[in-house]
């Protein structure tokens, strides 16, 4: 029963243009957030070397 109600709620919400846009914005932002979480960490390390003076 509650699944049906939830489905109806989302179907109604998606059919409403404003709500649909908001949901899409949230969806896109979630994708961007995921990408940032996966690739957002920079690598500032440098190659290792042994200093042997001049």
């Amino acid at each position: 029963m509650w699944i049906k109600r939830l489905t109806t709620f989302f179907t109604d919400a998606y059919n409403n243009p404003s709500t649909k846009t908001i949901l899409l914005v949230l969806y896109y932002l979630a994708i961007i957030a995921g990408l940032i979480a996966m690739y957002g960490k920079g690598d500032f390390s440098t190659a290792k070397f042994v200093y042997q003076g001049f």
Partner: protein
């Protein structure tokens, strides 16, 4: 009206993303400014390899950034500027942006990356005669100090002339190992180094390069914030103004230095003397190394890199002090290079720096003081550091005049 929900949502997402990034940028900047005094003395890799903390340092009126190489980091002593001025005895602290093997081209990239934050600001460029007299820049040293962020910032900088960027690009292409994983940058460098119409590719690539640079800047901020979250710090630092007793400090450092040079007559640090024993085992004819030395100095690629560095400083409007070190005269003489030949270094340094109208201190008068440096490469000794500290103090307080 045609309904375009995806387009509207896409545009709204981009606007929100840009707003979020801008907010993050300001938040990170304010944190960095707040903690830079505490972070500056920690010798963090992120300070050297990023730019956020360097920019924050330049914003502070009581921090003096020093860019340099092994002469800054090699001798572990309380006379090192970043330790000596740690408690702001005369109103400022020195912050090191230095690493072993760092050369003029790396410093140029670093400062180009800092960008307009250095306009009108004092900055110290520490150099030694070594890379100008003792061989070419090693690819390993360059790679060991190379960061992608600095390279991108320099090449896509809107604040530098095309001539300066082209000269830098030409030099960067000589170290292909650093570009191996970055074909986009390599292609841009090649295009920048060619005449039109190939150079057109540089302009086409520019927006993409700039976008990549923005991403790396944000990552740099994120790295600083992550460090602050994992290492809770107090933003306040101890400040103990006092009159510095320079003669007393110099006498103490001199005495201490002598205790570290007991096994040779040239003032070489005891631990380094074994490197020279073999070289000096057989008699060397005085002046026998002059022609080779002069040839090396005249032809050193490091001068070209220094010109790029001085060009960057001029175009960004910085107020630099070029702080060289003296030739270790007696040791070089023992190795067959006369003092007259050694003076080629000072002459060339003056010739190269004169067009840029910068302050240059070369300590030539201390060349015969065997306790100023610890070796042939003029790495600064404890005693040498006191002279350097005094120069830094004079520079910060405007007591060194333009030539």
């Amino acid at each position: 009206m045609k309904r375009t929900p995806h387009l509207t949502a896409g545009v709204a997402s981009v606007i929100l993303l840009v707003a979020g990034m801008t907010g993050f940028n300001y938040y990170a900047g304010s944190l960095e400014s707040k903690y830079i005094h505490a972070l500056g003395s920690l010798d963090l890799q992120q300070t050297r390899n990023g730019i956020a903390l360097q920019q924050a340092a330049f914003q502070q009126p009581d921090l003096l950034p020093i860019y340099g190489s092994s002469e800054i980091t090699m001798v572990d002593t309380p006379y090192q500027a970043n330790i000596f001025f740690d408690t702001y005895p005369s109103g400022f602290a020195a912050i090191d942006i230095a690493n072993l093997g760092m050369s003029s081209i790396t410093m140029a990239q670093n400062l180009a990356a800092v960008g307009p934050a250095i306009r009108g600001k004092k900055v110290v460029i520490s150099i030694t005669p070594a890379p100008f007299t003792m061989g070419a820049l090693s690819e390993q040293y360059y790679a060991g100090n190379y960061t992608r962020l600095h390279a991108y910032e320099m090449i896509y900088s809107p604040y530098l002339s095309l001539d300066t960027k082209s000269a830098a690009a030409k030099r960067m292409l000589e170290f292909p190992a650093t570009l191996q994983a970055d074909p986009f940058l390599k292609l841009t460098l090649s295009a920048l180094n060619r005449p039109s119409p190939v150079r057109l590719f540089y302009y086409i690539a520019w927006p993409f390069g700039e976008l990549q640079t923005i991403v790396m800047r944000l990552q740099d901020h994120a790295a600083v914030i992550a460090y602050l979250q994992s290492h809770p710090l107090r933003a306040e630092v101890s400040r103990q103004p006092r009159a510095i007793d320079w003669p007393g400090t110099l006498a103490a450092a001199s005495q201490e230095q002598k205790l570290h040079t007991l096994n040779n007559p040239y003032g070489v640090e005891d631990t380094k003397w074994k490197n020279y024993q073999q070289l000096l085992a057989n008699p060397i004819i005085p002046g026998s190394g002059d022609s080779r030395f002069v040839r090396n100095v005249q032809g050193a690629r490091e001068w070209d890199d220094l010109k790029i560095l001085l060009g960057v400083l001029r175009e960004l409007g910085a107020k630099p002090l070029i702080l060289s070190r003296p030739m270790n005269v007696h040791l070089w003489e023992a190795l067959g290079v006369s003092e007259q030949a050694q003076n080629t270094f000072y002459t060339k340094l003056q010739d190269v720096s004169a067009p840029y109208n910068v302050l240059v201190v070369d300590y030539r008068e201390y060349g015969t003081d065997i306790y100023f440096s610890i070796d042939q490469a003029a790495h600064t000794s404890r005693k040498g550091w006191v002279h350097v500290d005094q120069t830094l103090d004079d520079f910060f307080h405007g007591r060194i005049q333009q030539p």
